[in-house]
Subunit: 244 residues, 6 copies
């Protein structure tokens, strides 16, 4: 795979530099800045008493997520959704993906009737904002669970936190499988696959989209292999930062 | 797989009865009622002159889709999104999925600056509404393309219609892969996979979600095999109804 | 009146073919497809526990209605109200008319604190959608009341259902009174009168609008006579279908 | 009818004191304060260049109306529709009624591509706000037409203003037909009929609602007779104030 | 200052004619029409049981204000905020200013858990609508407090009403300090200062804006002197009308 | 003033540590992170071709600003305005203040028909977010003007940038004037004054609010003196970072 040169000189199965900073802000229970190359997302985990109506009186907790872009995060400024008065479909779609993915990383039955609210706000967008969000949100979630322990909400012997969850994007560009696409590659990829995995190597979510071209079973297999490799690198990063 | 009995007596890799009715209403260019068991969706394709702003002056067309549930489609009535003043995230997500999937079935460069607007309105919901929508929308789209030919908008020698697109859901229930889940099965499935394919056997979209449990590579492979089988049955149905 | 030929060959005081189908879908307590010629409306009646705030602690029930058009119901597709984020004035106006009309067909004091929610969704529009909605909604309402009996919510000796309610439109076209206008006639009528009656021949609602021309007392009288005749035909249809 | 005493001592076919004040404010082309007893509505007519999209390039004008209540107009304060972010169905319904009624009082083909925008804002509500609005709006409209003449927009020989339009409410209370209901009577009336007429005695709109009880043909006839009498008094008031 | 002639002949430190009418309408507890020259605002004070969530169980009351313009209040008609579905920033800003200013005129701890809702609706706008609103709202508030006394909600020996609050605008026009600017002056002023004071000569709010030009300390001092003079005249008017 | 100890040990006329970081993100023309103690705001300046409708065909530019809080910026998480579908009054008020303040720092007639859009997004809130926003936005604006020079949009000899603008808050706490209030002090201050000044010592905006207590002329003078001192320190910081 060495002869195929990407714009930034990476190998096709190489992640961009990944950096995870804990304690980025101090008000929420967990606050993380995650960077995949130039993509930068602030991920926070806030603890709120109570649960949404459909979970009440179950004795169990809930986890919900909201994703958003700051207006100047993208190359051309985008109007604020608050000013438009409407949340865009893409925003809804990613918020729901982040929520589902992180619910796979926590045992809600051990939370009591509390809600963990994740917020992923993109400060700078350069492709992979949803995968960076999921990866960073896990670390913020871990810090929020630690806070719940510290506050005595979760008793000492219990640990609702499940094995880590992380996500990468993979794409087909000119027939080649590439890992972790920046915006420039993403916009000309034929196929775009986002994969959310657990540190145990199991799948949480697979979302593959062939809007510019369809893909066959063999290409899917190749993409899944490369995604698994990328996720393993992310689990190492998550572990390192959580052990600090 | 014969020993595993589903509530409706189907084999695990068997579709519910599928019925596609063309010309369900007469105002839109294409109008189809698609039924997957008790799930019933009205799929229409309307032709509008002009394209959205981001496509203007490209000489090419556009295709967009909107999905919605009638309030009494579900077991318990749901409030209207028009009355709430907001489109729900789930609705946005499915609308976008239907749009992307059907854009894979048409060569927009041959449409001229016209828009095909697909509407998938669920009259009765019993699981698989998004996959039924995609499957029925292809037939409505084919009728709309025929209407464009008849009106002379598309010249005689040209055919923007690409190979058919159809979709099925597959799920993991108690460790067994099941095809085409009705609501009752869907709500207790551990993993839910929606697969959109072309009649040539290629993937358009893969969306797998393991909210209740994660899944491994082998389970994914099994699910994809069963999905491909289901889609083949749908292509037969689409072909039959389009040849009438 | 024989020398005046309508486009579809009907006599001026003749209804279009009317068809009422019960059990059109199976989730709501009542579900009816009503057809006045090419106009087709799905009318459902759903039962919800509890009543709106202004009826609470009265021991009485409530009935509310919502009317809407599917986007492809009309000749030219109309944008969805959910996407626009606003309900149109016309939609509000008709929803309120349907609600008031059907509240005249039920004794709310015998319902207990339950709400019957009517939904009238127009699948295909060709004039008279509001009158078809009212006529079909009565049948769905009757089925919902039967369901309340079956569930034991309404005790055996009681019957909250009042005499049937139905509605027709009448118009003045070139000085001639015409019954049950399809869209083509409606759009060129000088005066448009919608009449909601009970099977006992009493008025529930009269809405006459002379936007293109005003009308005198004698014309009003003629229109009311023809409307009464049309309603009588509808009561026969309602009775027949409810006796099946 | 003398033995039936109304709370305010009026005869059953007697209007409340009606007062119309021209030039109530000075910015709009027409500005009128109309009072039906304690009901007070500010009716303005503003002239705007251009017409809505559906009238463009017809060479003809348009007239549109908006009705609203100030929050403290009613006995108990009502939340603002601007703050709720939604216009209520009742508001929509009355706005549309006022617009249709006043379009019957103007020949739009003589306006050029200009729009007359009527605003009826209720300062104090005591029943009959929609009929007072229509009656006052006609006077504001007449002043706006005069302004168009003065500006030379309408040439000297032409007069787009048609015969006056006015409106009253009539109700059935305990079986008696009563004219011009204040709130206290309106809320206990069995039937409520709003009638919009021209000074030539023709009907523009008839809206009769029997939510609390239905009504028969003879009762309708009686109500129409009394309404016609009430409207005649209003035409005298309109004429007097316009001749000042 | 005599050589500087204002369009309406006033001295630079002279208020326009101010008129305050109590009991303008009769439904709300307080209802005032306040006029600063051609600017006319209807100010009402309504009493509502209970307080907003953030004040509950404090045993104290609350006061809130909403400001709005009728659509035809301005020279060119402005679209309604209810129809646009959004409240404008300017409206929000003034509503909040009026609320803060009047909360300085009442001891909320003596109100019990009741809310006084002020509404300032501009019937005619000619500059200074926010200062007229504050000045008139104080009188409506005083009447509402009297009503609370009359109803026994506030016990006899207590008086939550604090010293009167009034407001004026001052501007810098061509380097001259001018009091109480009408629209024509306001739109060409370099600096615009709104001052809210108590009858004891203390400041409640100062809002100075130098969008067209900045201002120095000496100019600020001059403007504050003139504002104080204007407020004193308003306190005389308020006192006179409240003693009637 | 030394005997009055503030929680963080500052003197009453001492600013919190202020830090301004240029080039915080790289997509917008100007991107600044400004910190006043724990308060952190990301200020960006984006350049957009064209101007709003009311400025078209004037040959001049425009500058607009939007302020917002990230949901987890505050101690308790606040719901997103995009999800609520409404912008809050406070947000509107501050956005307008920032816009007016920065328009005092640029000669719009030299921009051509271009718009500079400022966005101030609060990452962490601890009082003074509006003053930090204004102070940081000036630096982002300066970088955007430099970008316009670099792109040749502004010719070499011209400089639309006017003298720097900065802002501080001052408050009265227990009768003492304190500079630059953190949240804890702000919430118990009797009077809150925000002052926007130019580096030449002139006022752009003064907003003083005495919701908890009114203030007299001498207190105002003291507060203005301290504010001027604070602004001078900010101008030094701005200059230093712009000279890097």
């Amino acid at each position: 795979m060495v002869d195929f040169l990407r714009l930034d000189g990476r190998a096709v199965d190489e992640m961009r530099p990944v950096k995870i900073t804990r304690g980025f802000t101090s008000n929420p229970a967990g606050s993380v800045l995650v960077e995949f190359g130039r993509t930068r997302v602030m991920c926070t985990a806030s603890i709120e008493e109570g649960v949404p109506r459909f979970r009440r009186d179950t004795g169990e907790g809930w986890l919900s997520a909201e994703y958003a872009m700051l207006p100047a995060a993208t190359h051309d400024r985008m109007p604020r959704e608050s000013t438009r008065g409407k949340v865009k479909g893409r925003t809804h779609e990613i918020s729901r993906l982040v929520g589902r993915s992180l619910r796979a990383a926590i045992d809600l039955s051990q939370l009591g009737e509390n809600t963990i609210q994740l917020d992923c706000d993109v400060l700078q967008a350069d492709g992979g904002t949803r995968t960076a969000s999921i990866t960073g949100a896990y670390v913020a979630l871990a810090d929020a669970v630690a806070a719940l322990h510290a506050r005595g909400v979760i008793p000492d012997g219990k640990n609702p936190l499940l094995p880590p969850v992380a996500a990468v994007s993979v794409g087909l560009i000119d027939g080649r499988v590439c890992l972790d696409l920046p915006y420039e590659e993403d916009s000309r990829a034929d196929v775009d696959l986002n994969v959310v995995m657990t540190a145990e190597g199991r799948f949480v979510e697979i979302q593959g989209t062939g809007e510019h071209a369809t893909f066959d079973r063999q290409q899917l297999d190749e993409m899944l292999d490369v995604a698994a490799k990328g996720c393993q690198e992310l689990f190492v990063k998550q572990k390192a930062v959580l052990e600090q």
